[in-house]
Assembly symmetry: C2
Homo-oligomer: 389 residues x 2
């Protein structure tokens, strides 16, 4: 069975790129990744690009072809994957499968979203397409309100508090301070979060991830080809994907995301590890409650204990299982790029290149990317890989 | 190397489904395909869905999750692929790669578009996203006008006539008469086409494929698994994808599509056949000129001879290489579904199930699916496969 490694990574700064186009952003990320890998563009055999809603954000579909064109890499195959906010994670998984298929040895995986070209109302509608348009969005539910339902139920069943959710935001902003690519470099306090405006009770502005422009890219390679080229990097031990109902109303439980649990179960099994073996994780904190759900569903903490674990500091940079060292989605969430950027954080940490936010000697990293309110989840597991050390 | 077969196929009638939703259409196609394969839904391990512009057509993204949900197939991975009008072909290729990767044995591939929910103006804008929004659409170019440029150049260089283009439409309408799933059951004459209104000279209304609702699905299986289950069908000998510049202005030639040529070259090589071995082909006739380009670029006729070959009847049902036996895109083009429906026609023909339009004893079928003005092309080659005969 072909094994797959990541040999290079690059991304734009996440933020509001008013003067830069979709094309410029994806090109910057891709060119950085190619340079980082130390390969030539012509060595790339296929491209997978994650992008959620370019049709609504910039009136442009056919994103795979656009990326290949912008990079001057025609005529290689270039495919866009869409799975709402999990588009990047799904693109990563399909790049990985393309190499495992034996059809390609070197694949570029990118993720991008340019979200600031439209009004907030239009962006809300575009993002609403991640949920169930017929049973949710049509009736006025926006994403903060859907996650508010999940938060309310978690608070009701397990006593999770708004302060604990706020602590997720505080921690991720603190991590984001140490990440030059973060959208925000601003420390916040629990009080700041608690005093911020309610968007959909109990979710406040500072519980939400922002609207962001940005792109991220990694270069995937079969292990055999990487050895031949003398490239080092990290190995993808597993990349698994799960699905769930589009509408929250159809779920059996509102305190766990089945897609996450299923993807995680398969990923741990394939990687032959348990949650205890994970050194750090990038998880999908589109809202602070989502991080609490994730660290439970991924098996780092028992169901219902995620809020308390956060309160006790177990998920900080110095904690027992650092979560969202990059700053998470809280510090920038260009939806199609997020899943790829998570893999980049794993790459940087495992290779000891994460600068001020570097943790000591991590062995295994995990990335967890969610679409919508959890109808898609991708869990990928990485470890450092020897060549080139 | 794992080999991949198609063991079941199903589709909706193509047309204007005013009273049926996106969900109902994809469910109908998928349930028919599952039933046709004689498997149970639970045996499906992953889904790939082709869809171009659901965000603009129905305000819904996250189409992979929606399909799995609608079919009750959670929590399996379900991925949407987008490559404009080649979305279906790209979904097929990625389902094929997913099986070749060894990660999945049974994969459902669907394609869908619900295009009639919006005005013609909005549909034009949505479809425009297949081209280059910045250098083409923004300046008023719509798809008929882009293909009109290709037609003009072909007429100029090779003497191709409007009558020859009309003959493509006449032939495809004649084939569509024999296909119960065709959007049109209406014979037309060259005179009808010639007298129809110009949309963008030299392209007239009857040179264009229509706006269509519809869905199509096939069940892919590793050969080993199909043998174990005792299923018959057709083998995918190759599925290759090429890319080209998004904008026509950047092309070196307007009389050939490089993405088609590249995908075809690789597909013939992988399948170890030459164009002469192909018994019939479904090609991407979004406009009549596109079929002429395709039959040249695929190597059935020399460059510049496609119009004359059509005039001489070489591509009719009784011709030397029947093209678009299904009626082609001319008889229905729900953009995301088209690439999958082409594979279905290959399936039906190779298994001798194509009813009135069945050709005698075909050995090899080819499907050719284009995105936009040719920035993506997928060429897949099929042959009948023994088990279950």
């Amino acid at each position: 069975m072909t094994e797959v490694v990541i040999v290079g990574a690059g991304m734009t700064k996440f933020g509001e790129h008013w003067e830069r186009s979709f094309r410029e952003l994806i090109a910057e990320a891709a060119i950085k990744a190619i340079g980082d890998a130390g390969i030539k563009g012509e060595q790339i055999e296929a491209i997978y690009g994650g992008c959620m809603a370019s049709g609504r954000f910039i009136g442009q579909e056919h994103i795979g072809a656009l990326i290949a064109d912008q990079l001057g890499l025609n005529p290689i195959p270039s495919t866009r994957c869409e799975a709402a906010c999990a588009s990047g994670g799904v693109a990563l998984r399909n790049g990985y499968l393309a190499i495992k298929s034996g059809e390609h040895d070197v694949v570029a995986v990118g993720g991008i979203e340019k979200m600031t070209e439209v009004s907030t109302e239009e962006a809300s509608f575009a993002l609403g397409g991640a949920g169930d348009q017929e049973t949710e969005l049509f009736h006025g539910a926006t994403f903060p309100s859907l996650y508010a339902l999940l938060a309310r139920r978690h608070m009701h069943e397990f006593g999770t508090t708004e302060e604990q959710m706020a602590m997720v935001a505080v921690k991720n902003h603190a991590n984001g301070m140490l990440n030059p690519n973060s959208q925000f470099h601003r420390e916040i306090t629990v009080q700041d979060v608690m005093k911020s405006t309610y968007v959909a009770e109990p979710i406040k502005v500072l519980d939400c991830s922002p609207i962001t422009d940005g792109a991220a890219a990694v270069i995937l390679c079969s292990k055999e080809k990487a050895e031949e080229l003398g490239l080092g990097g990290i190995e993808i031990l597993a990349s698994e994907q799960g699905s769930d109902t589009l509408s929250l109303a159809d779920r059996k439980s509102l305190t766990e995301l089945r897609a996450t649990k299923e993807a995680a179960r398969k990923a741990y099994e394939k990687a032959r590890i348990s949650p205890k073996d994970v050194s750090f994780a990038e998880v999908h904190d589109c809202f602070t409650i989502a991080e609490i759900l994730a660290i439970e569903d991924l098996g780092f903490f028992k169901k219902g204990k995620g809020g308390m674990a956060t309160e006790k500091g177990k998920t900080t940079l110095e904690g027992e299982i650092p979560i969202n060292l990059s700053g998470g989605l809280k510090c920038g969430h260009p939806v199609g790029a997020t899943g790829v950027k998570q893999a980049i954080e794993a790459f940087e940490q495992l290779l000891g290149r994460a600068g001020e936010r570097q943790i000591k000697n991590p062995q295994i990293g995990l990335a967890h990317n969610i679409g919508g309110s959890g109808a898609t989840a991708v869990v990928s597991i990485f470890k450092k890989w020897g060549v080139g050390e």
